[in-house]
Symmetry: C2
Subunit: 220 residues, 2 copies
């Protein structure tokens, strides 16, 4: 079955989270807390998913940021955490996103997003960068009731789009996301911008690209 | 029903992971990668648990360490990752562990461990610090087939010990672990060594202590 629908992860796949480190630094905490905070937020969301529960991304991200800021002696960790999480509303997209989206649209593919974050945050990101009209739907696992990479999160997106798993491809920088999509029967495209190594314990991706514009060549 | 059995988490709850940062530093990478690496390893294990899958802790920890070392330009990231993960075999226990274990044993309680890591690593830790004979069983989720905080991981431990959830208490520094134990019907004891704030989206712990010896007073 030919691929008709491209499902994009949002955080780090479309958006560039690098500026989040500066938000910690502005509060007097180490800039390196940015990656730790994001990993810990994902850990929290996935922990809840192992029991069939979901708390919205922003609530987990805020609590996790506050905890890190408190440990680092920031005076008002709750206000600081709001400052950090507000950074999601001002993120850039990666340099390869505009060209990649244009190439996929030119190839006649339908584009949607599926984020562990809120749909409103993805709407804001796409809108701010002139990309919103290129996407047919902006979906969040909050409407699925469970985070990626739980199987039901992908099933929700496919049902919302009215497509079979076999005619879809999940695009992400995170191997765990693609492993979950592969479990759900989707093709997978690993956007490996850093020349990383695929983790041997996960299902290998269908396609691997170093930048998003390369993907259209695989799908056309 | 009175509590008869105390189930301990191992990593960070009994062991002190602080020296793991020095292992990254010895390879020329930032010492701050220690906490990021541990959070990312947990994220990987929980991601797999959302789909009912399990990969052993050491394999996830090695792959995650190698990825971080590669990103930081370390020449042989696979050998470096083995150096990092070998650090689990030389960890200290926290200062309050010996006194806490002695007090709980004096109160007539049965002690066991339940780790997301390998049972052999926990055996080594307890043996090296003269604590092994205080514990009736050293259990790993690898024998449950799924990581904490999935419900089946705690059910496995309770069955292995032959105790009802209502006569057990889970002890951990990680709120997500205690939330999972509470879902499984266990009492929970939060070991809050750093004066952290309990995350509002998780079931509050039955007991909170700042150091392990305080727990015996709650259970006696």
């Amino acid at each position: 079955m030919a691929i008709t629908t491209v499902v994009f992860d949002v955080n780090e796949t479309l958006s560039d989270l690098t500026p989040m480190g500066a938000r910690f630094a502005a509060l007097g905490a180490p800039e390196g807390l940015g990656p730790l905070w994001f990993a810990a937020t994902l850990r929290e969301g996935m922990a809840q998913a192992t029991g069939g529960e979901l708390t919205p991304f922003a609530e987990l991200a805020t609590a996790t940021a506050a905890g890190l800021l408190r440990r680092h002696g920031v005076a008002d960790p709750d206000a600081g955490a709001r400052h950090v999480v507000d950074g999601f509303l001002e993120l850039p997209v990666h340099d390869d996103v505009h060209g990649g989206v244009a190439a996929l649209r030119s190839a006649g593919l339908r584009l949607v997003t599926l984020s562990n974050g809120a749909a409103s945050v993805a709407e804001r990101l796409l809108g701010d960068h002139g990309l919103r009209e290129q996407f047919d739907a902006v979906l969040s696992v909050e409407d699925a009731g469970i985070w990626k990479p739980a199987p039901a999160s992908y099933a929700y997106a496919l049902q919302a789009c009215g497509v079979d798993a076999a005619e879809s491809v999940m695009v992400a920088v995170h191997p765990w996301d693609l492993h979950g999509a592969a479990r759900a029967g989707m093709a997978t495209a690993w956007l490996d911008r850093h020349g990383d190594t695929w983790p041997g314990y996960l299902t290998p991706p269908t396609f691997t690209v170093g930048a998003l514009p390369e993907l259209a060549g695989h799908l056309a």
